[in-house]
Every structure is written in C-alpha cells, then in structure tokens.
C-alpha cells in the first residue's frame, strides 16, 4: 500500500518520455545517487567538478523546461556547450530522439578554454548551470 502511494505521488514531468506509459519523473532529474557517491558530495557544483572537470567526462543532458538536448564536450579546446541534434526526431519517444553524443555538431551556446569556467559561465535561458541540471535528465557521462 505504501509503495502504491509512493508511486502515485511521483510527479510526471514528461509523459511517455521513454516509451508508452514509461514517463520521465521529477525524481529522475539531476545527479543520480551514483554520481553523488562517486563525488562524495550532495553539492551539485562539487559533483560537476568531479565528473566533468577532474575525471574529464563529456556530459549530455535533456533540459525539460525547454525540451532541448545539450552536450558539454570536454575532449578538445575550446570546450563547447552545444545544442545536440536530434538524430531520430521522428521517434515518438523523446529519449530515443537523441543519442547524447557530445561529438555531434550543434549550435554552440558557450565555449571556454578552461573547464573551471563552465560552472559559473554557462547560462541557458538565463538559468545557471545548477538550475538547468536540476531540471535535466542526465543521459551521458563518458
């Protein structure tokens, strides 16, 4: 009964995001438990700095509030934050529309030569990177 109540109280942010009846829920947004454990932190900035700056991973995410896939590509200079193209835009499920490959070419919304500039420098729709990631599904860290 408690489990059913818990499931009923989950807030859907995008219906059928992964498939028919397979929704994207608010509790799936932002950093996962695994990233928090790896970074040994609950602080978004510290997790970002661990995964993207220290380990050096590329990051791709789907920002719910403007229905856009973004990628932060750290493999080369300048580091680019870009809109990722939808590889299969005709797919009925948003999750399947973009591979989350940050190598893909796309509109660059921010660039810098030092990953430490990313956290404070990136703004999407006047929102900070922290605000954006809190409202995003992280789809790639590699």
């Amino acid at each position: 009964m408690e489990e059913k109540k818990r499931l009923r109280n989950r807030k859907i942010v995008v219906r059928d995001f992964f498939g028919d009846g397979d929704h994207l829920y608010e509790d799936q947004l932002g950093w996962t438990k695994r990233e928090k454990r790896e970074a040994r932190s609950l602080v978004s900035k510290e997790i970002f700095e661990y995964e993207v700056v220290t380990v050096g991973l590329n990051l791709a995410f789907y920002y719910v509030d403007n229905d856009t896939f973004y990628g932060i590509h750290t493999e080369s200079l300048p580091i680019e934050v870009k809109v990722l193209p939808r590889d299969t835009p005709d797919s009925p499920y948003i999750n399947s529309q973009c591979k989350g490959d940050t190598h893909a070419r796309g509109e660059v919304v921010f660039s810098c030569r030092d990953s430490k500039e990313l956290w404070d420098g990136v703004k999407i729709d006047d929102k900070t990177l922290e605000e954006v990631l809190n409202r995003s599904l992280i789809i790639t860290l590699n």
């Binding site: 992964f18 498939g19 397979d22 799936q28 996962t32 438990k33 695994r34 661990y50 220290t54 380990v55 050096g56 991973l57 750290t74 493999e75 080369s76 200079l77 300048p78 580091i79 499920y93 999750n95 399947s96 989350g100 190598h103 030569r113 990953s115 599904l137 992280i138 789809i139 790639t140 860290l141 590699n142």
Partner: protein, 157 residues
C-alpha cells in the same frame, strides 16, 4: 561494479537504478558485450573492472527491438580503465576512420588524475588518438556483429 550476479539475490540483487551495466549473452573474441544504456537515465563509462585486465565492449540496445549496437571499447589494466575507443559509423554501419576533427573513430588514454581517481586529460589534443592497429581485427568483428542485428534479451534478476 553492479554487473549481473555480483550481488546475492537473497539480498535483492542489484536494483535497476543502481546498475552500471548489464551483461549480454554475447562475447566477441572472448570479450563481454555489455549494455550500458539500459538504465533510462544513463550512459556512463565503466571506470573499474571486476576482472584484472579485461576488454569490455560497450553496446546500446534499441528499446523497441532490443537490437544491439556496440560503439565503444574499454581496455582495463589492474582493474582500472586505461584506454577507451569510441567507434563512429557511417550509414552502412562501417567504422569511420580517425579524423582530427573528431568526426571519426578515436581513442583516449585514462590514468590516475588524482589519488584514486581515474580520469582522462580532457581538452588535450594529444589524447584524441587514432586507434591502435592491434584492435583492428576486433573492430572488424564488432562491425559484423552490429550488422547481424543481434538482439538482447534482458535477463530477469
């Protein structure tokens, strides 16, 4: 690491949201084909291995058909990722060659960036490398595997 069988079923096994990957029933040249993108929220490279010096082949599975596509290779030494290969394909499923503009297949080295932390030297052009010739035979077999349209049937825990 979260792979199949690494936790006792008596303790409930590995929760889906905690998994890093799933093992498929497939191997190429003895190397396991792993699905990374089963968890809908994640495609994350595996930084450590249970085996000492394995090579893992990273695949994604089409959500509708279950068709597997291998697009990455991880090479591990002493349980740590030391090299990764990103494979890019053309519309016919053939591997694109290395390109300095990053459109092609390439490899990266990984090492200890801080005590106990494996990472790569990001934004280092010298760490965007051509793939070593010794992996060519394996890559040819990966291309064949992808073209055969192998289906992944997820094992229930």
């Amino acid at each position: 690491m979260g792979g199949n069988g690494s936790y006792s079923k008596e303790f409930g096994g590995v929760k889906p949201q905690d998994r890093t990957h799933y093992e498929t029933e497939y191997k190429i040249e003895g190397h396991k084909v792993l699905v990374l993108q089963e968890n809908p929220s994640h495609d994350k490279i595996i930084m450590n291995s249970n085996s000492r010096n394995p090579i893992y082949l990273f695949a994604s599975a089409d959500k509708k058909t279950g068709k597997l596509t291998i697009s990455g290779i991880g090479i591990y030494k002493n349980n740590k990722l030391v090299e990764s290969i990103d494979l890019k394909f053309d519309s016919n499923g053939n591997v694109l060659p290395f390109s300095k503009t990053e459109d092609g297949s390439h490899s990266h080295n990984w090492f200890e960036v801080a005590p106990g932390i494996i990472g790569r030297k990001s934004y280092d052009k010298s760490n965007h490398k051509p793939i070593k010739q010794k992996y060519q035979k394996l890559i040819d077999k990966i291309v064949d595997f992808n073209k055969k349209g192998k289906i992944w049937k997820k094992r229930k825990d």
